[in-house]
Symmetry: C2
Subunit: 319 residues, 2 copies
């Protein structure tokens, strides 16, 4: 187990520094100083080998992605990343694997200014649990429950790329090298919409990040807000690479049901629409209005004004 | 995976409520409100089946213990427990197991007033990662690095009981039924010294919790404080059950090298000795002075004033 203690030292050396970290890795606890009048947003995600990722994932991508999926939860609350712990369970001590994994992890940590303040490294079947802490002005955290009838529904980025990327990796589909590069990169290196999430605070009425696929995730938002919605599938933002690689019908299925996009889906009252579009444009993130909150508790999909059902494309996915 | 989402609902229903939890389980993040002028203590521990516990551990004990070992880290910083996340990886959904596990977890959570605010439940080889947050008056957190030459060394409770308890469970040793009950209980239900830890703040100069065994854990404290120490093994607090069950030499070995006692070891300057003994007595926790911080960087064990080496008893332990 000595080797495992060395791993903690290895991570401690690379940990992002922040002025609000009084005491970092190496004692019984870390000590951090929260900012005045901020709430702390807390989220935790586990990735298990063969359940959430395949053994052939590049360790650098796994390092980046294991943090990115957690940052995406902070983004959907409008919180600013601050501190995290890493629980890493590994079947063996493999220096090369650790070097790559940590390079990916710290690339995301540095970019999003989140400090690794603690963790635990243990022997066992490979799995990763990261718990992130963010800060958000008290009373302004974005939840899933604030959507109201008439609010407009938006998403950031483009949808379906990650799911098609995974299908390309598994050899279930083929694409041009350029499109494959883009799509696989979206699967391995999703972009948590941290800045966009902060721009949405006080303007959006609700938000959620898209991890399981739009059709699945929007249900949580509708249920917790107690409302229904209509989505116009003609308005779904699709990347050129997705459209180049599959049929139009398939592209819509990827966009509606493909997982792991880690884009934000959010609702905006009519009165905030203009302010929100300006605020979001300033973050440089692309976004699209795709529908509207409605009465009832059902989700309706429309295409050319007619009810729409996506085709079943039976793609690979993790759940 | 629907079943796994139901598990989160199952835990959410039982979660301890606290007034500083604005938003609990069920959104992308929890939101909590830190108290004014407090630092946040953060710690994280993973328990993996067959590495940190055997499959035959009663699930209720596992639930209790998986939180208790984390609370022990908060205790050794003098922090007050506040919020936690639970990442539970399970090979199957077993309702009876979950009921018992959660009963043990929430027994500890309610007693120590810590709220479960988030988590993740995933399919995979059984393992548990809990991340705890505590609060401590800014600038008063107890670390491992503050021990100074001449400070007195103390421990809470009695030592070695948990390791002998594990040997009894594994059938490596035998004992009277009453003693076995006590010792096995100490292994399954260790007591995190949360109140004692808070009483030590501003009085003790350093503290650590005993998870790997006194001889191993004190080295971290000596190294981080840059000092040496002398322990008088005649002063080690031993339970009647430990003394009844093994020889005197064996008892000393359990006390010095047995793991998982989760007692606090701490150093106290001469000037604070009286105040500390009063403060600790008020918490109802037993404690014993066992040695003194000295020059150099070595740990010396003395018995009747002579150098002492514990016998090797080759007991079971997790590392």
């Amino acid at each position: 187990m000595k080797e495992f203690q060395l791993i903690e030292h290895f991570f401690a050396k690379q940990a992002q520094s922040r002025r609000d970290v009084e005491l970092g890795i190496g004692d019984d606890c870390a000590l951090v100083t929260p900012a005045l009048n901020k709430s702390i947003a807390i989220s935790c995600d586990t990735l298990v080998e063969n359940v959430h990722f395949y053994p052939d994932i590049p360790p650098k991508a796994l390092g980046y992605k294991s943090l990115a999926v957690n940052l995406s939860d902070l983004a959907s609350m409008g919180a600013e990343p601050a501190w995290m712990t890493l629980a890493l369970t590994l079947p063996e001590v493999d220096e090369q694997w650790l070097t790559s994994y940590s390079a990916g992890l710290f690339e995301a940590a540095e970019y999003y200014n989140i400090a690794l303040v603690g963790g635990d490294t243990t022997l066992g079947p490979r799995s990763i649990t990261i718990t992130v802490n963010g800060q958000v002005q008290a009373g302004t955290g974005l939840t899933r429950s604030g959507a109201r009838i008439g609010d407009w529904i938006y998403v950031t980025g483009t949808l379906g790329d990650s799911a098609l990327g995974l299908d390309l990796i598994r050899g279930n589909r083929a694409s041009s090298p350029e499109d494959a590069d883009f799509l696989i990169n979206r699967h391995y290196y999703p972009t948590p919409r941290v800045l966009a999430g902060q721009a949405l605070r006080t303007l959006a009425s609700s938000a959620i990040d898209l991890s399981d696929g739009l059709l699945s995730d929007i249900q949580h938002l509708l249920k917790q807000s107690g409302i229904g919605a209509t989505i116009d599938v003609d308005l779904l933002p699709l990347s050129a690479s997705l459209k180049n690689s599959v049929t139009e019908e398939e592209a819509l299925s990827y966009a509606l049901t493909g997982g792991e996009d880690y884009e934000l889906l959010f609702s905006v009252p009519e009165a905030q629409k203009g302010a929100l579009e300006i605020a979001l444009a300033n973050t440089g993130v692309s976004f699209a209005q795709i529908g509207q909150i409605s009465t009832g508790d059902k989700l309706k999909l429309l295409r050319d004004g007619q009810p729409y059902t996506p085709i079943n494309i039976g793609f690979e996915h993790f759940s």
